[in-house]
Structures are given as C-alpha cells and as structure tokens.
C-alpha cells in the first residue's frame, strides 16, 4: 500500500499521517475560503455594500476574529434540554462531513481512501447528518427548534432521492462507483469519437448536473431551500439554542458540507483533478491536482451561492411538490435514457 508520492517512498504509517493532515486541510481550507470569499464578500458586492473591511487587509482576517469570538462564548445549555443529546448533535453533523471528504480524490495518488463503492459511500455518509439535526432540534426543548429539525428532515429525505438518482446517470456512464474510476472515465472518454478534451460528464449528463445542483442546494439547506432555519418563522430552527463552540461546529459543518458536495460535483461532472486535454506525469499531477480540484470546487460553490443570494424562499408545500412531482420523475427519465444510450453505443 506504500505509494511513492512525488517519487519519495514513504512507509504506510507516514502516508497515513499525511492523509489525515491532508483531510483536515481539505475540510477546513475550502470551508474558510467559501465563508470569506462568497458569504462575506460576494454577498456584500451583490447587495451593493463592502462587507467586512476592518479586520486585516480588505477584511481578510474577519473569519479568524469570528472564530475567536465564538470560542470565548459560554457553552450554554437550555434549562429543559437533554444535555447529552444536545452536546453530541453538532459532533454527529461535523463527523459525517469529514467522512464524506474521505473518498474524494485530489490527484492520481493524492487520495484519502480509494473505495470501490466511493460515491455510494459518500452519499450514504452524508445522510447521517440528518440524525444530528434531528437530535439538535429535539434536545433543545424548544418548539421552534423541534419544528426546524422536523422541517430539515422532511426536506433532506425528499431531496436525497433526486441527488442519488442524478448520480446514477454518471455511474451508468462511467461504469464504476469508484471516484478515481469516474475521473479516469472522463479523462479518457470520447464524445462521438472526439477525444481531444476527454468527456467531462457535464456535457453528456447536463440533466443530471442540473438535478444534482438543485438537490445539493436543498441538502445544504441554502436559500431558496432554507425553511429549516427560516428566521422570520422559526428564529433559527434547530440552531436556535446553540452558542459558542457548538454553534461554531454547526457553522463549520454547514460550509464544509458545501465544500464536500461541490468537490463531489466537481469529480462527477467536471472531470475531477484532471485537466481537459492535457496530461502531465503523475508526480506533477499530484501537486497540480488539488489546485485544479479547488478551482473546480470554487466554481461549483460560486453557482450555489449565486442561487442563494438571488432567489426568495420556497413555501413548505412548494418544496415537497418540487421534489416529488418534478425532480424525481425527471431523474428517472434521465436514468432510463442514459441506460438505453449506454447499451446502444
């Protein structure tokens, strides 16, 4: 299992330590970048204001200041709360995000875990965070929190189906569930005999990409799908009673999950760490790959945030109708068409 990353031979335990550190960096760096670049700055510019300007040059240290502020706050527990469940809920959410990242490849050898069931694993693990949200909503002993938790669950269950079904089209076309295999299938693919740029699945699976983006927006509970934390109706939903470190964990979880889903979208539809039409040797690619991945991830997050700042919130019934009556039938048709074309060509 010892792999020669950058022509340096490392023992298994050294590779493992590198992978764990790499995973921490892969979770936290994109999450921080997303918060600063998109949530602080892009949102402000879209609303004709400057956003944070005081902390550090151009407000770039604002996030560190915020983290410092949260860490100083008291770890509050509501009076009637179920303390143990209340305390564990944010940890369940954050851990499910960390494990999701484990199957994302960042280069030919720069991966954390190369599972044969890669994408299936990621989707399965992402569904565990629902339990954390329900735990938070229930244990807060607050009817707004409970409503938020229930709304979140109804929404996440409904949108998990189109998410999985959208991925199925890619899996059928690539012929594998392994994330590296999906990257390779796009790198070496051809579109009607033309192999100059490979076959990024966004070109042949554009319906799947659209479905995945919509379902992902809902899974992240970003506006226009933010009923679980709708501030005008539910204060802040399941987050209402949280403060300090535990709120910070939820906050990291939210944006790290955005990073994880966009990394998966980048692998599935944009060709992952590979550059279209250009191939370097694998040592160079191990260094370039993470940067290419980061670029593609940020592109996907840009789209997510753009929708977030543009559209007003759905109503609860519109949300459910949209998932069950539009997205799921479309994704089923997409799968059928993909399967027929796969056999025909």
């Amino acid at each position: 299992m010892s792999s020669g990353v950058l022509a340096v031979d490392l023992a298994y335990w050294q590779v493992t330590i590198l992978r764990v550190l790499g995973l921490l960096a892969a979770v936290l760096l994109p999450a921080g970048t997303i918060v600063y670049v998109f949530l602080f700055k892009m949102m402000s510019f879209m609303q004709s204001r400057l956003g944070p300007m005081e902390a550090g040059p151009y407000g770039s240290m604002q996030l560190l200041a915020e983290v410092g502020k949260w860490l100083q706050k008291e770890d509050l527990f509501p009076d009637g709360a179920d303390r143990k469940v209340f305390a564990w809920a944010p940890i369940v959410v954050v851990v499910s995000t960390f494990i999701m990242y484990a199957v994302v490849p960042f280069g030919p050898d720069a991966w954390f875990a190369d599972l044969p069931t890669g994408i299936f694993f990621a989707l399965a693990v992402s569904s565990v965070s629902v339990i954390g949200i329900l735990m938070a909503g229930w244990a807060s002993a607050n009817k707004y929190s409970l409503m938020g938790g229930l709304r979140a669950t109804g929404q996440l269950i409904a949108y998990e189906l189109p998410l999985v079904l959208a991925v199925l089209g890619v899996v059928i076309q690539a012929g594998t569930m392994n994330m590296q295999g999906i990257v390779e299938a796009q790198r070496n693919g051809e579109i009607f005999g033309f192999g100059g740029i490979g076959n990024p699945f966004i070109l042949t699976q554009f319906v799947g990409f659209a479905l995945f983006m919509i379902a992902m927006q809902a899974e992240l509970t970003q506006p226009p799908f933010d009923m679980p934390v709708a501030e005008s109706e539910l204060v802040a939903g399941y987050l209402t009673e949280y403060s300090g470190l535990r709120f910070l964990l939820f906050f990291i979880g939210e944006f790290a999950t955005a990073g994880a889903f966009s990394a998966i979208a980048a692998v599935l539809f944009l060709g992952g760490w590979a550059l279209p039409g250009i191939s370097f040797d694998s040592n160079l690619m191990n260094v370039l790959g993470p940067l290419v991945m980061l670029g593609k991830m940020m592109l996907v997050v840009f789209l997510v945030m753009w929708f977030r700042f543009t559209y007003p919130r759905f109503r609860e019934d519109q949300l459910q109708i949209f998932a069950w009556k539009f997205l799921i039938p479309i994704s089923l048709v997409n799968i059928a068409v993909t399967a027929v074309l796969k056999v025909a060509f």
Partner: protein
C-alpha cells in the same frame, strides 16, 4: 486476521451494550439513538470482513432512512425529554422468551453452517465484491428480485390508499 478479531470484539461489545440500552432506557428517543449505534456496528462488522457494499447499504438504508423515519415519527407524536413512565408493559416475559428462541435458532443455524471454519478476508467464503453482488442479483436471482420489488411497490401504494381514506 488478528487485528480484525480485536476490532470485531470491540465493535461487538459496543453493539451488545447499546442493544441492551435500547430496551432498558426510559426514553423513546434515546432508544432510537442507541439503535443507531447498534446498526452502525453492524455496518462496521460488514466492512471489517470486506463486504463493503453491504456495509454502505446498511448505513444508507437503516441509519439514513429507517432510523430517521423512526425519529421523525416519534418527534411528530410524542417526544418528551427525560424519563417516561409508560414505556414498559406487562408483555416483557413473552418478549424475553421470543428473544431467547430467536437466539437459539440463530446460534444453531450459524454453528450448523460454519462450525469452526475460518473465514479468510479474501478467501472463497469471504463476502463478494460489489460487481459480484450485482451480477448475482441481476442474473441468478432476477425473478425473485423483481417479484420482491413488485410486492414492495404494491405495499407502498396500499399504505398510501389506507392512510388517505377520505
């Protein structure tokens, strides 16, 4: 197999403790959350013997869907925090007897089938890879698979019809 055996023991112990907690705890939501630990342990055991697809399916179906629906149902109807007085009832002896009977049947079946055979991680007895699972479902067991899907669909539609009686 030594490392696997040690982890099997640790996970199995955690599962047994949580399983006992499921039936002894005084709070319905806590019982459901302990059940999550038991089911996660099952998934971990599957992964430990190399049945990755089955393990991941276990997480997706049982933890991600079944338990979430349990919790959803409990919280929609009754979900008090703290001890509940009416979670026990008088049928516990019958339940214990059933559990004992099930234990005996399972033990007999497992001992009868495997006895003291060692299961190598990648040997002939080891669980099959993802591709082999799909091959056997869609080639050897296609008709039973379709029959079960049809039955589930019928049950689903039936449940909707019963629930929506107007």
């Amino acid at each position: 197999m030594v490392a696997q055996n040690i982890f099997f023991g640790i996970i199995a112990a955690a599962m047994v403790v949580s399983a006992i907690k499921v039936v002894t705890t005084k709070n319905v939501v806590h019982a459901a959350l302990y059940l999550v630990i038991v089911l996660a342990g099952v998934a971990a055991q599957f992964i430990l013997v190399g049945a990755e697809f089955t393990g991941v399916t276990q997480v997706l179906v049982y933890i991600g869907a079944v338990i979430v629906l349990f919790l959803f149902g409990i919280m929609l109807t009754r979900a008090r925090i703290g001890h509940e007085m009416d979670v026990d009832n008088e049928r516990r002896w019958i339940a214990g007897l059933t559990a004992l009977l099930l234990f005996a049947v399972m033990t007999y079946a497992l001992l009868d089938a495997f006895d003291d055979t060692d299961i190598e991680a990648n040997g002939a007895l080891a669980p099959q890879a993802t591709q082999a699972v799909s091959d056997s479902i869609f080639r050897d067991y296609l008709i039973p698979f379709e029959a079960v899907s049809f039955l589930l669909l019928a049950a689903l539609i039936g449940a909707i019809v019963v629930a929506r009686r107007e």
